[in-house]
Symmetry: C2
Subunit: 440 residues, 2 copies
């Protein structure tokens, strides 16, 4: 295999990762045609993470919140996309080693984001359902629907309750949004599909280690989201740190024990840095220490941004929040700084502009903290929808999401309840492994 | 595991298979509430087979052409759906044995359809891509897209041409529609995504064993579909019977040898009958011989319909064509006959009403044979679209398909080009096998 990227007279910027940060950078920097951009990702699409939970809950299709990278850059002749895994960086040779071979760079930007953090608990890692990729969200959808089919056919009420019940760990936006939507499915959607079943047996628990939900938001938002969820029948347990899950019971450090076959883990992430950097630049949470120009300490031509980077700036002593906004802002700023340096100008230090945060709780309520105003309820929900709709890439995605939302709202229904068979898909799609399967 | 279906005072009709026939029967027969209906399928959704090729070609999402069974029967308290595999029928005990346990019946209807027929050629079965389920169609989409990513990174032009080229075997509607859409992707869509690649290397071959394409249709339609495809650059080889495929070369009995890594097999089906029936009722193509009331020879209370049934009627000496229409008509007729017998009336023999057939060839052309008129071209294409839109189950599916079609037509684009990672989905969704994977 060869990466087959042509050498040109222009400087080559290699960007590893097409999440919010890497994509924002690539779109901006590629505007100048006297730069060659190589964008590397393991998937051929950009994923809109804030709506993963709606894929998991059968409200949206994966394709509505994913956008093919090649489509985004169709008109950009100076952008080369390679779908592959990056193994490490070789700073001496100025190259990254990938499954397609070695790719050299003039500037390297690490935008590899973060992965689920189980804090070393193997038992949980083996059995919990993560929510960090659109494939994982689709898997959660399959799992929950299959559980209900299985629940129809078990011998005891206890087994049935275990299959139907879900424990969500982590009181951040993902945990809150997921448990809210689960509560709605319990009340409005699943009973229509499974009239034979008693839904009292289905329990939804949301566990959070700290004192409150949505700890990064205002007190009003924390308080209101809790009220909304409790009203919807979600059992909220704060100050509970999950320490074990044997597939049937979730246990906490504080002594709780909850019966559920399903544990969704949205309780932590850790940065996903590249191998090959000086270990001293890796700081707390696996993040890469960068200066205010996103430059990695000790390297002239290597940058990091977004979740994987830790920039000390203003009140953000250990780096910015690991969210879409800081990543996008850093990506755009870095592009402009590269241009400035190319033009012999002085680079400008990055300043994060907090645009606020929001979370939705169920069908028509949300909590919104903006810099100038905080509000909750129906108007917050409309705001949440509007902001997410305009943030998503692609006009068609926006149209499809809007139709789905209006449909789901009007009919109290989500119709994407297909349990697809990944085995079949895998067997055919991946011809390389097919022979192995046939022989095994 | 237990099937957990309640016993009632009413007769129980067990329907195996929720394809066109089984679904039509279930919807009709369930209208009478003095019957209990048990509908069994291995998937929790009904699949609209005529549009599989559009899923394979990234034009539609699987969910647009699949419809959750529980949603269809939400309001029907007398319908019990079980998602499981039926292993065999025990005619003495009047039961079918399933992965959920034994399910007894008063009437059994076998609507298990057909599966891909490789005519005993193991080499082809191992390497070819079938098109009989929505999962297989999705796998074909993944495979073709992944091939293009791989083609960017290979060492030689020959490897690249092999990865890009596709041989479609079978000149029926599926083969014609698939190769037409592939030709369009080659000309209009893929070059925009892969500007680095030379698309002359991509060859599309359509192989058919008989003398003409669309053999079941009129001569005009056969002729026109051939002209359309040739104009689009598809290499058509009739009177070529494929006998081998080593993963790089497709060979035929007549001595052709074509370089392509991808072989799509749409060249034959065989019926998929249940084990446990008297072997004498199994006739040509594995179909079950039924009388004109769809009753299986020698059994009072067992019926078969659709692709799996062979009814001698009128000109159809070896059974009706294995298409949606005969299955749907038989399903509706059988429901009414069951009612008649319940009411002490005489059953009415089935008469097939041929409503015609059609196939689409690319972006805006189709061939249509109706009983009273045959036409081809743009009007035929509009007719094809209209008929397929109204045939699909679910208002939302219709809306989404229409939007996708208008979008794709207007933009010359298909935006569903995601390569999803089935391994991740499988690992999480299927908790039972997870431990095995972790240990292996």
């Amino acid at each position: 295999m060869l990466p087959n990227i042509p050498y040109t007279q222009y400087k080559r910027v290699v960007i590893v990762g097409a999440g919010f940060g890497g994509l924002a950078l690539a779109r901006e920097i590629a505007k100048r045609e006297d730069l060659q951009v190589v964008l590397i990702d393991r998937n051929n699409y950009h994923q809109f993470q804030p709506l993963f939970y709606q894929v998991a809950m059968a409200g949206l299709e994966p394709s509505s919140i994913s956008f093919p990278l090649r489509k985004i850059f169709q008109s950009k002749k100076n952008v080369h996309i390679r779908i592959t895994e990056v193994r490490s960086v070789n700073t001496d040779r100025k190259s990254v080693s990938t499954d397609l071979g070695e790719i050299t760079y003039d500037y390297l930007v690490i935008a590899t984001g973060a992965v689920t953090n189980y804090f070393g608990m193997k038992e949980i890692e083996e059995r919990a359902i993560p929510m960090k990729t659109v494939s994982e969200a689709l898997a959660l959808r399959n799992r929950i629907l299959q559980n209900f089919e299985d629940a129809l056919a078990v011998d005891t009420d206890e087994q049935r309750a275990g299959l139907m019940s879900v424990v969500v760990v982590g009181g951040g936006p993902t945990g809150v949004e997921l448990s809210g939507t689960l509560a709605e499915m319990k009340h409005f959607i699943l009973p229509k599909d499974y009239p034979e079943m008693d839904f009292k047996a289905m329990e939804i628990h949301l566990l959070e280690g700290s004192k409150e939900l949505l700890g990064a938001m205002s007190d009003e938002s924390s308080q209101r989201s809790r009220e909304y969820l409790e009203k919807m029948g979600v059992h909220i347990h704060t100050e509970q740190v999950v320490t074990g899950f044997d597939g049937q019971f979730v246990t906490t450090k504080q002594g709780m024990r909850i019966r559920a076959d399903n544990l969704v883990w949205a309780a932590g992430i850790k940065a996903n840095p590249l191998n090959g950097l000086n270990p001293e630049v890796i700081v707390r949470g696996g993040r890469i220490k960068v200066d205010q120009y996103n430059r990695v300490q000790g390297y002239d031509n290597i940058f990091a941004l977004g979740d994987v980077a830790a920039m000390q700036e203003g009140e953000w002593e250990n780096g910015h929040p690991q969210l879409a906004q800081p990543a996008i802002q850093q990506g755009k700023a870095l592009a402009k700084n590269v241009w400035r340096v190319m033009d012999g100008k002085k680079a400008v230090p990055f300043r994060y502009k907090d645009l606020g945060s929001m979370a939705t709780v169920g069908r028509n309520r949300a909590v919104v903290d903006l810099p100038f105003i905080k509000f909750q309820g129906f108007m917050a929900w409309l705001t949440w929808m509007f902001v997410h709709l305009i943030s998503i890439v692609g006009v068609k995605n926006r149209v499809l999401i809007l139709i789905n939302w209006v449909w789901n709202y009007a009919t109290y229904d989500q119709s994407l309840r297909l349990i697809l068979r990944p085995k079949t898909i895998e067997k055919i799609a991946n011809k390389d492994e097919k022979n192995e399967e046939v022989h095994s």
